[in-house]
Amino acid sequence: MKAIWHIEPAGLDAVLIRFGEQIQLDLVPTITAASQCLQRALGQDIRGMVPSYTTLMLFYDLRKHDFASIQTLIERELTKLVIDNSVTGRLVEIPVWYDPAVGPDLQRVADYHQINIDEVIHRHTANTYQVFAIGFAPGFAYMGQVSQQLATPRLDRPRQRVSAGSVAIADQQTAVYPTETPGGWNILGRTPMPMLDRAHAELCPVKTGDRVQFKAISKQQFLEAEGVLS
């Protein structure tokens, strides 16, 4: 399959490459492949990229390029790009202790759908999720799609403090809070897996384009994996 894209300037030293106008699962492999291809081909001329749901922002070295010259280079590379949709990102398993002690919104989500907590856990772990984008805070991965039978709107009043490792949903998206921040998503549980590991070269266990499978674990497993309760 050939990718379709549109390149526009963004700020002074960036271009926004737009691959679609709506969030679609199949844009993810396209944008991931495009970002890998451009990194390989133009690595010396670029200063970072930010892949997101429908776009790839590419920052370029203003000393070497203006908008027209970088646009030409990008088009040359992307024209050669052939997307193989059967190639999917890595599958990363994230263990989660789902319990009201660390998942204060389990009951709210259950009530919203008129189901019990076990069914909430079942619905959250039944799907694999695609990482669409990383942002909001370092390592905060926006994943989807959460099924309509679990999707729940954000809290009316965000919490001042959401613990690191909290696994949450908002509408059809799910995420793990990598560090303690304020937040308004529905918290279902907590993972002992560090989502932002400063000792790790890549910093994050997941990248845009990866897929994630949440797996329910017990409190004991959570503690054995050095999960933090506070």
């Binding site: 526009e8 300037p9 963004a10 700020g11 002074l12 030293d13 960036a14 926004l16 709506q22 969030i23 970002s35 200063r47 970072g48 990229m49 930010v50 892949p51 997101s52 749901y53 429908t54 776009t55 790839l56 922002m57 920052f59 203003l62 000393r63 203006d66 908008f67 984008a133 990383i134 942002g135 909001f136 805070a137 370092p138 390592g139 905060f140 926006y142 560090t179 400063r198 890549e202 910093l203 994050c204 990248k207 845009t208």
Partner: protein, 309 residues
């Protein structure tokens, strides 16, 4: 053994270690961060003949007091704070020789809000993720890599330097932070998120800098601009971008901005003007005018070439 460098006696309101920022971690959500006013920051290093990206201090609002534990050379640029060495005033936009035992004090800013202090050879600080730039919100960078502002008792290591060659920025290059601001904008013609009449409001009205501004974004207040859409699908953010949230009050994105954002973007501010904006106090008024992208790029290229970047 006596440490070489400077000891922080008083940290002031907010003093941060800065360089030009970190660029290779945006895909996992790390802000670039970096000196809010690159022009003043680059001049400070240039006055000392330092590599352009050398770690320096960004002193916000003032109140910093340091004690030297080594002979060195410093340069001061940016906001006008009354700076003294052992109670004797030191001129801004110049380098100065410092003796071990000297006390440097920065009073509160009179014009501008951020003063830069560079030292010969740069402060010797280990970068985190390729940069010492302090992003407090992300707990990244700074003296020990944890994103903390300076605190009393901190030691800022630097090499000894005996030279007393004095350099100063020629007055024609010294910016006047109190001049009325007309900010140049490269308009985003590529989206249909604003009607022409709403887009024109930015250029036909005076806006004021809101007290809600911070190092992520400069918030403005004035005539509300109504986008055609409430939000957009989140996409990467560029330095200087003008976001319009649903309340219609523009936000100009600065160095510590989040890497992705979901508000429609009307255009982006010419970076030289963003650097000037980073020196403005709340309630300052400004107006906007347009600038073609090619011209803006050419001017920035010239600016970076001048500083050897």
């Amino acid at each position: 053994m006596m440490p070489t460098g400077f000891k922080v006696l008083k940290p002031g309101m907010l003093t941060l270690v800065q360089d030009l920022g970190r660029f290779n971690y945006r895909h996992i959500g790390l802000s670039t961060g970096g000196a809010a006013d690159e022009q003043a920051y680059l001049w400070a290093n240039r006055l000392l003949d330092n590599p352009a990206n050398s770690p320096a201090l960004e002193i916000c609002f003032g109140g910093l007091q340091l004690r030297a534990f080594t002979d060195s050379q410093i340069a001061i640029t940016g906001a006008d704070m009354l700076v003294t060495r052992n109670n004797q005033p030191l001129a801004n936009w110049q380098s100065h020789a410092i003796k071990s035992g000297d006390t440097l004090s920065f009073a509160y800013a009179k014009s501008g809000i951020r003063t830069y202090l560079a030292v010969k050879g740069g402060f010797q600080i280990i970068p985190s993720f390729g940069s010492v730039a302090t992003v407090v919100r992300e707990k990244t960078g700074g003296l020990d890599g944890t994103g903390n502002p300076l605190k009393a008792g901190d030691l800022l290591p630097c090499r000894a330097s005996k030279s007393d060659i004095r350099t100063r920025v020629r007055s024609m290059f010294v910016p006047d932070y109190q001049q009325p601001l007309i900010v140049s904008v490269i308009v985003n013609h590529h989206r249909n998120d604003f009607s022409p009449s709403e887009q024109q409001k930015l250029f036909h009205n005076t806006y004021q800098i809101s007290a809600q501004s911070n190092s992520m974004g400069l918030r403005l207040q004035g005539e509300a601009i109504k986008p055609r859409v409430k939000g957009i699908i989140s996409e990467g953010t560029a330095f200087g971008s003008i976001q319009i949230p649903p309340d219609g009050q523009p936000i100009i994105l600065l160095k510590d901005r989040q890497t992705i954002g979901g508000y429609p973007v009307l255009g982006s501010v010419f970076p030289m003007d963003v650097f000037l904006l980073a020196q403005q106090q709340a309630m300052t008024e400004l107006r906007f005018t347009t600038m073609p992208l090619a011209e803006a790029q050419q001017q920035m290229r010239r600016f970076y070439r001048f500083f050897g970047i």
